[in-house]
């Protein structure tokens, strides 16, 4: 089932960065501890189902959503709960599980999954800890199991800078991916939408029971917000579900085997990595071993769970996040640059603006660092956000509406159709060093609290 209408955009930018991953998967790595980080689950209020010292199997619930107790997050490995780290106001920041190395898995008993009703299937996914893989728009939070969404979207086209290549990741998981798509199909009235790189659609030719569409263009062409706006736009009250491509395979693997194996294939990338490549590991693994295998080349680096535009900051002794398929490592940019504000100076710094010659040089790719390259200023320059924003809405006006917390205006300007990462390039490109993603995130939090 192919949709004729492909998605093509020219607004956006392809950031040509150094350190993309070689197509080698290393799958021997495990670590002694694993961690779950409740902050990875936007909008979820964690309540623990274990205490320190408890034994857990892989697939046993560790915490659940206070607002919707059926949504559970399960342990990626078997072992003991080593510690529960809390922050201010006793907020749960991290749950660390010490692996016993046996990888004992909790097994769920059910008949052929194909024979299950939608309701039974949903409760099975909830019980097994697969449910957090299914997210909903608006807001980008974990889906409400009681909703019937208008559509489900899965994209295999990743345009984020140095982002993991889903076609490569799915090569070995093709059958599970297919099964996962069939599972998702039974959760929704119309077939799942599957986004495919327009230039290379071959690996998915044998998948028939979904609505396939082609995508082409620079980042953020791969972001689902654009696809949803084009194919099944979200109006007030509508729900659309999205699932990360590898998690579709995880769901497929679960319904086939009855055990929840939280696998993640990650691309370890960035200019501070000597041998950037892929790793197949369990969610929540320590980053340190992978980093030492891939070799860090700089003294001071920033490890990012996710891509350099929208990922969250971790550190060399940190843990892998729940959802990200990319871990980026780039040098910290805490140095000074003399007269760096002169136009056409420092062309080694990647710039989308024509006040630099950087576009003409460095065809091989840029080594980027975390310097702010200036200071935060009032919003002066106009029109630059629209250049890197393909959605049919006014980004600056929406950002301003979020800043003044005007809910009616945010609704009218399209807050339901965006998630923070759509604004990643705006963060990057804007002259005033505005934190657009943070503003949109706070706007969405406000919407969740006030409108729901």
């Amino acid at each position: 089932m192919n949709i004729k209408k492909g998605i093509r955009t020219r607004r956006g930018a392809k950031l040509n960065l150094k350190g993309s991953a070689d197509k080698i998967i290393s799958n021997k790595i495990s670590s002694s501890t694993y961690a779950l980080n409740p902050d990875d689950f936007f909008g979820l209020v964690p309540k623990l189902s274990v205490n320190e010292g408890d034994m857990v199997k892989a697939g046993d619930p560790v915490f659940f959503n206070k607002k919707e107790p059926r949504i559970k997050v399960v342990s990626p490995v078997s072992g003991t709960i080593k510690s529960i780290n809390r922050g201010a106001k006793r907020k749960i920041e991290q749950i660390i599980i010490e692996s016993d190395g046996n990888n004992e898995m909790r097994s769920h008993k059910f008949d052929q999954w194909e024979t299950l009703e939608r309701k039974e299937l949903i409760s099975l996914l909830l019980e097994s800890g697969s449910w957090p893989f299914i997210k909903q728009r608006p807001y980008g939070i974990i889906a409400n199991p009681d909703d019937l969404p208008n559509a489900i979207f899965v994209s295999t086209f990743n345009t984020a800078p140095l982002g993991a290549d889903f076609q490569y990741i799915l090569e070995k998981k093709h059958d599970n991916f297919k099964t996962g798509l069939t599972v998702l199909n039974s959760l929704v009235d119309q077939a799942v939408f599957l986004g495919i790189d327009a230039s290379f659609s071959k690996p998915f030719e044998d998948i028939k029971n979904v609505q396939k569409y082609n995508v082409s263009g620079p980042h953020p062409a791969g972001n689902l917000s654009l696809h949803i706006q084009e194919l099944s736009p979200i109006n007030m009250g509508d729900k659309v579900w999205t699932v990360n491509a590898e998690d579709v395979a995880n769901i497929g693997s679960f319904v086939k085997t009855g055990v929840q194996d939280l696998k993640r294939t990650i691309a370890l990338v960035g200019s501070a990595i000597k041998y950037p490549k892929y790793f197949s590991v369990n969610i929540g693994i320590e980053l340190s071993q992978m980093l030492s295998e891939a070799t860090i080349t700089e003294d001071q680096v920033r490890c990012i769970n996710g891509n350099v535009l929208s990922g969250s900051t971790s550190h060399e002794n940190g843990y892998l996040g729940y959802y990200n398929n990319t871990v980026s490592v780039i040098p910290e940019g805490n140095g000074y640059r003399m007269f760096g504000w002169l136009p056409f100076k420092d062309n080694h710094i990647l710039s989308l603006s024509n006040t630099s010659f950087s576009k003409l040089f460095n065809k091989k790719g840029f080594s980027v660092n975390t310097n702010l390259n200036g200071e935060e200023r009032a919003l002066v320059v106009t029109g630059e956000m629209e250049k890197v924003f393909p959605l049919d809405l006014f980004p600056m006006q929406l950002i301003k509406a979020c800043m003044i917390e005007d809910i009616e205006k945010m609704e009218a300007l399209g807050i339901y159709e965006v998630v923070p990462e759509d604004f990643g390039l705006i963060d990057y490109a804007n002259t005033s060093k505005l934190e657009a993603q943070e503003i949109i995130k706070q706007g969405i939090e406000l919407m969740i609290n006030e409108v729901g």
Binding site: P233, N235, M236, D238, R302, I304, V308, L309, T313, S328, I330, E332, G333, N334, Y336, M338, F339, G340, W341, L342, P343, D346, I349, L350, L352, S353, N354, T355, S356, S358, V368, N369, T370, N371, L372, N373, G374, E375, R377, A378, V380, V381, T382, G383, D392, L393, F394, Q397, L413, G414, G424, L425, D427, Y428, T431, S432, K433, E435, Q437, E438
Partner: protein, 386 residues
């Protein structure tokens, strides 16, 4: 570089967090960040950032202004010596112009930046770079013989009332430089209009006629400048507005670097050309029958549309809005020229007027998008109920 950095860090110590002079940190930071791009790293949001910042943007505008400024300085001397009919060299003309104009630039920067620094310290934010451009624009659009104290007062008025009263950089409704000129225009009309102010020393030396082309036309006189002279800018007028040629070079810099909006500039030229053409067809008075092409190259139109109308803060902010805004500035500019003999130059008032209406234009453009969304919702509701 390292030694200098260390000296600076030592100097900045008393301005640090919790120190005695913390309040004045914005002032010292403004100087420091002009030497070095600071070592700040990203804390939230995207982990990497573009090399462009507001300093770079504003400095690009200043570079774009340079050709027009240098020609303006030369033209000041050229107008004076050629009307005195004394032989002169390029250098002499340039020195005469510099003697008049550099003090104006200094006054504008000193007064404006003092107020900006004061507000930055008072409000506890960093000094915004916007004034670097405003401070240069103000003298560039004044008549050459205006007394320095008038420059000072106009500048203070513009920064205080047009900018800081609205919340500072990025919040102003009107273009601050044009507000300074409008203030001087209405407060000191004898220094800002008439036939004795547009050439250096014209009010002191009888041999010099200091009238602009538009002024002559409005008074019903004849023009004896060739079209090339008008284009090149060897004509009387405000300091840097005369040379369409060098303004066009600046426009090219702004458009290629993407700093100035090509939509506003093209729109403005289109609007003015069409309006001029229509008036040519009508031809009821000297200014109406003044060729539309000449309308584009005399007076402050070119300078205004390139450097003042494109101000991103006071102009329209949406792409569609920029077209509408630019076209209307062009149309209004020629209309004011032709219909109002008291103001032979219309570009200042046209831009200020459109500054006021720019938010309205944007409002309707954005509303178009909002309506589309509402319509889609209504359609979906219908489908659901059907």
């Amino acid at each position: 570089m390292n030694a200098l950095r260390k000296r600076l860090d030592a100097l900045k110590k008393p301005f640090g967090k919790g120190q005695k002079l913390e309040k004045f940190a914005p002032a010292i930071n403004a100087f420091d960040t002009f030497l070095f791009v600071p070592n700040h790293t990203t804390k939230k949001g995207a982990h990497i950032r573009d090399a462009v910042d507001l300093k770079r943007t504003m400095v690009t505008v200043i570079i774009a202004l340079m050709p027009a400024l240098i020609y303006g300085i030369y033209n000041t001397g050229y107008q004076y010596y050629s009307q005195m009919e004394t032989p002169f060299t390029f250098i002499e003309a340039f020195i005469h112009g510099s003697w008049k104009i550099v003090p104006m630039i200094i006054v504008s920067y000193v007064v404006g930046l003092s107020i900006e620094f004061g507000f930055a310290v008072y409000r506890g934010h960093e000094v915004n770079e916007g004034y670097l451009v405003t401070g240069l624009l103000i003298p560039m659009i004044m008549p050459v013989d205006i007394p320095l104290w008038m420059v000072a007062i106009s500048t203070a008025f513009a920064v205080l009332i047009a900018k800081e009263a609205f919340g500072g950089t990025g919040m102003n409704i009107l273009n601050p430089a044009l507000t300074a000129r409008a203030f001087a225009f209405f407060a000191y009309p004898t220094y800002m209009s008439g036939n004795k102010v547009w050439v250096s020393e014209a009010s002191n030396v009888d041999a010099i006629s200091g009238e602009t082309i538009l002024g002559t036309l409005a008074a019903g006189g004849d023009i004896n400048y060739s079209m090339f002279e008008m284009f090149q800018g060897a004509i009387p007028g405000s300091i840097a507005e005369t040379s369409t040629l060098w303004v066009a070079v600046g426009a090219l810099i702004l458009i290629v670097t993407g700093i100035g909006s090509w939509r506003i500039i093209t729109g403005g030229i289109l609007g003015a050309a069409i309006m001029g053409l229509l008036f040519n067809l009508w031809g009821a008075n000297a200014l109406m029958s003044f060729s539309w092409m000449n309308h584009l190259i005399v007076g402050g139109f070119a300078f205004g549309i390139v450097f003042m109308a494109t101000d991103p803060v006071s102009g329209a902010q949406t792409n569609k809005g920029k077209w509408i805004y630019g076209i209307l500035v062009g149309i209004l500019c020629i209309m004011i020229r032709v219909f109002n003999p008291a103001y032979p130059e219309g570009v200042m008032l046209a831009i200020l007027l459109m500054n006021v209406f720019a938010p309205t234009i944007d409002h309707y453009v954005v509303n178009g998008n909002i309506k589309k969304r509402k319509k889609r919702w209504a359609l979906a509701q219908e489908l659901k109920s059907a």
